[in-house]
Amino acid sequence: MANMDKSADRQISNMPEEAELPRDNGELVFDAPWESRAFGMAVALNESGKYEWAEFVNNLADEIKSDPAEERTYYEKWLHSLADLAVERGIISEAELDQRTHEYATGARNDDDH
């Protein structure tokens, strides 16, 4: 994991001020389990070379700027940036993400039953 340490050290600890991760006494703060999954996915995708961390951070900073009234939470914007980037990179399509979201929302798909 030496590799991960290094990029995490340099990049995640140097997020620009407008996109700072929510923290308490230096520890990351997640208000719900999905937030930590979204965090983990963004970092893991970067680690696997799907995009540069800076690209993700730029998207996130733009998202944050576009919501000055803070109507959405930090991790809602995080998720939006992540999904956009995944679509942009051709990792997934928007249609299949919408479709799968719909399946989970309606209960047509439910992994918890397994």
Binding site: R23, R37, A44, A83
Partner: protein
Amino acid sequence: MSGHHDDGHTHEQSEPEIRTKALESLLVEKGIISTDEIGEVTRLYEQDIGPMNGAKVVAKAWTDPEYKRRLLEEGTSAIAELGYVGAQGSRIAVFENTRDVHNLVVCTLCSCYPWPVLGLPPTWYKSDAYRARAVIEPRSVLREFGTELDEAVEVRVWDSNSEVRYMILPERPEGTEGMSEEELVGLVTRDAMIGVTKVTAPASAV
């Protein structure tokens, strides 16, 4: 967080929660990342890094003089004894705050930080103001953090770089003699390990 209830209703999930699940399911299905990888990243950031690691180092040094000697002599290996290992090639040096000497850490060039023990640096640590003023007028900076030092106390400022990161071993507060190592961990704050504040004893212990 199961969505399965006996009455047939599903647990009400928020839109982002469902969308996160959908995204993860697609990424895993396509073999791009695994559920374990995501969990590993999250676990690493949530539990294995952060000021708690540094606090354990400090509490051990407070209760084990032999460990403290090793820590001050060669920080990197003493910290590694507790399992905290950082990026290759960067050492961690530890300085002790005492009655007579107060140490403070800054990175004037960028924002080098002893990441394995303290986690992510606070916003102010990276600010231009802190980086410039910590060196020029450390006493004023300390005062702004509520740290009043006697004029007789010598202030030493340590400028981090990519080879060496610094961590401060704060002074063990009076009135904590009866506390266990585990209890002491809870007293140590991130700011005290950067050197901008002192560790204070809980009201009940004094």
